[in-house]
């Protein structure tokens, strides 16, 4: 946590700043029903060799954020503003061809469902070779050797035979490994994993997370893991960004978020993890209500309609949108409650129940 996070994004970009620096990103989609504010003023940064976990419910803007970084948002459809600086280069200002050449080479992505994310008609090897040859002038044979080497590194047994298999001939876990091999084939500096374990068997999930962590050390890349599952980020992330309705509501080092979370939404997420060591009735404490429509985000604090501590804000939650403010040592929280109040609530009311 070295650079400052600015909620307004007005701070000038540092010359030698973080590897990925997203400042006040807004992604709005005009639709017939109104303007969908999928991401509305989001700032974060990731260093090489570090892992950022972005956590939130469906529709909180996590995936839209990652697609915007990759330059994969629908052309013409989305209105983007803010800055996305990758190694100092502003991706929103760069022309699409420049961004295309960065994709796969400097930044790569792993998707949720490896079965549908791989082309059913081409062999796994073919798809890795293709990814490698876009950015490297090598012969088919060299690329094939590289693909086999990559499959070996992600732990696929007998890579020399498996390289010619089709995605449907792989198991779910193996497919995700192959997907990772494909993403890492050009040795990217930034790896975005969008729900990398959601479609997988529970027993395989941990293996994949281990693999991502090991490979990150090996490749010394910056990693963003997007998930709705706090368990996933607990194992992998150095920093965590909790998103709600297109904005960051809590942002800080992973241990701070887990040990001293200060936002009621984060408390809710922690309570939503089932605990088998509790009484059956207390095992799961879901957050009441549903995420807001991104066309019609509540005025004031977007989480207010679902928040049980609204009375502590003296009505400010109804009128004023809380900014993501540093509560000391780089732990940012967007809540109208006073810091002491939040800390006390966590200690006295929330933590004992978790």
């Amino acid at each position: 946590m070295t650079a400052t996070v600015s909620a307004t994004g007005s701070a000038p970009a540092p010359q030698r700043g973080p590897f990925l620096d997203v400042q006040d990103l807004k992604v709005h989609f005009p639709t017939d029903d109104g303007l969908v504010k999928s991401v509305d003023g989001l700032s974060f940064h990731v260093e090489r060799g570090r892992t950022l976990g972005i956590v939130g419910e469906s529709g909180s803007g996590k995936s839209v954020t990652s697609m915007s970084v990759m330059g994969l948002h629908k052309e013409g459809g989305a209105r983007l503003s803010g800055r996305i600086l990758l190694d100092g280069q502003d991706l929103l200002e760069a022309n699409p061809e420049e961004v295309r050449l960065l994709r796969g080479k400097k930044m790569a992505m792993i998707f949720q469902d490896p079965l549908s994310a791989m082309h059913p008609y081409y062999t796994v090897g073919n798809q890795i070779i293709e990814a490698y040859r876009v950015h490297n002038r090598v012969t088919e044979k060299q690329a094939r050797e590289h693909a086999i080497e990559m499959l070996h590194r992600v732990g696929i047994p007998e890579p020399r035979n498996r390289v010619d298999a089709y995605p449907h001939q792989f198991s779910g876990g193996m497919r995700q490994r192959a997907m990772i091999a494909m993403a890492l084939s050009c040795d990217p500096d930034l790896l975005i994993a969008d729900e990398p374990t959601t479609a997988l068997d529970v027993t395989v999930q941990a293996q994949i997370l281990d693999l991502i962590r090991d490979l990150q050390r090996e490749f010394h890349s910056a990693v963003i893991i997007i998930t709705h599952d706090l368990g996933v980020v607990a194992e992998t992330a150095d920093d965590i960004m909790v998103m709600y309705a297109g904005r960051g509501v809590e942002y800080g080092a992973a241990e701070d978020i887990f040990n001293e979370p200060q936002h009621p939404y984060t408390w809710g997420l922690l309570g939503s993890m089932p605990r088998l060591d509790r009484e059956r009735s207390e095992r799961l404490q879901p957050i009441k209500g549903t995420p807001p429509s991104l066309i019609d985000v509540p005025v004031g604090c977007a989480f207010r309609p679902r928040c049980t501590f609204e009375h502590n804000t003296g009505g400010r939650a109804r009128t004023e949108r809380p900014d993501l403010m540093d509560s000391g040592h780089g732990h940012f929280v967007a809540c109208h409650m006073r810091q002491e109040q939040r800390e006390q609530l966590w200690r006295d009311e929330i933590q004992p129940k978790l």
């Binding site: 994969l72 295309r100 790569a108 992505m109 994310a117 082309h119 293709e130």
Partner: protein, 337 residues
């Protein structure tokens, strides 16, 4: 794979037998049910002034007095080993495979079919090349520029193409391109490709375009729908995430997925067409298999129609078999089953 092929070929033979029984029944059994006697059937094949006795003799000679299944048996035997037909004055041998024997012309049908097939094949192949290229490219462009002026225009024209019957578009095309502007052949002519390829293409150009227009329209709509679907797939996003050129994404990843369902339709359409493009051949006066069947209908020469129907059925079945085999080539998921 080999076992599969053998199984499919056996099924093909069975299917052809069923088709022949149904066709045979339509032409030889239903008239009986409708009250036609053996003599009325035979009266078509004798002179107008023939006496009742001559007609009856002809009916017996041609076997119309036998039960229909006996007649079918004789016809089926002809297909396998050949059959002799007693024409009164002489006995004509119809060598195997005897697909039928024209009572009116007093000659086997098969040589005629072989004679006419090149016309239909030329028509079908040329048109297929045009419609696949046109239909697929228009469909892809329409899908990529969805909602644009091009898309709307293409889809409106396609709707017209699907709706307008070929005997109308054919006549309109002939009127303008051939008669008014003199750009294309006036129809009715066919030059074998072996004789003069340029002339062959010139003679067939307008029929090709007319026939291709109908099919392009349909293929453009199908391709567009298929592309819209595949371009929304996750693997397209992956392809883009790799940093591939948009052209590679569209052609190698998008189109490849969209073409598979098109292959099925193409097999059916093409198989049906090489069995006789009835309307196109009639509109342009091309003496192909379709026209042959139409002539058979006009002349009440049932064996001709039976012959064309069987050949057409054979082509459709073969085309389907080829498509099924190609599926395994195109889609690796089919191969393992």
């Amino acid at each position: 794979m080999f076992a599969y092929l053998v199984r499919r070929l056996i099924a093909t033979v069975g299917l052809l037998i069923v088709v022949s029984i149904i066709t045979f029944s339509i032409f030889f059994l239903i008239p009986r049910w409708a009250g036609a006697s053996a003599d009325t059937l035979a009266s078509r094949y004798v002179g107008r002034t023939a006496t009742a006795a001559t007609v009856h003799a002809t009916a017996e000679r041609l076997g119309f007095t036998d039960p229909v299944y006996v007649q079918y048996g004789r016809w089926a035997k002809g297909v396998v080993v050949g059959e002799d037909y007693d024409m009164g004055a002489s006995v004509v041998h119809c060598p195997a495979p005897c697909l039928g024997f024209s009572f009116a012309r007093q000659e086997p049908v098969l040589p005629d079919l072989i004679d006419r097939a090149p016309v239909t094949f030329s028509l079908a192949i040329g048109a297929a090349v045009i419609w696949v290229i046109m239909g697929v490219s228009v469909g892809v462009l329409s899908a990529l520029r969805r909602g644009s002026f091009f898309d709307r225009l293409a889809m409106t024209v396609a709707l017209a193409g699907v709706s307008l019957p070929i005997f109308w578009t054919g006549l309109i095309a002939l009127t303008f391109f051939s008669y008014k502007w003199g750009l294309t052949a006036v129809g009715g002519a066919y030059t074998p490709i072996t004789e003069n390829p340029g002339r062959w293409a010139y003679d067939l150009l307008l029929p090709w375009i007319t026939l291709a227009f109908l099919f392009s329209a349909q293929y453009a709509r199908l391709t567009r729908a298929g592309m819209l679907e595949t371009m929304g797939e996750d693997y397209i996003r992956t392809a883009r995430a790799k940093g591939l050129r948009e052209r590679t994404v569209v052609v190698k990843h998008g189109l490849r997925g969209a073409l598979t369902p098109l292959l099925t339709i193409f097999g059916l359409d093409f198989g049906l067409l090489i069995g006789g493009a009835v309307l196109t051949e009639s509109a342009f006066g091309l003496n192909g298999l379709g026209k042959y069947a139409v002539d058979g209908i006009h002349a009440n020469d049932l064996p001709k129609i039976l012959g064309v129907t069987l050949v057409a059925a054979l082509f459709v079945v073969i085309a389907n078999l080829v498509v099924d085999l190609l599926y395994a080539v195109v889609d690796p998921r089919v191969r393992n089953k």
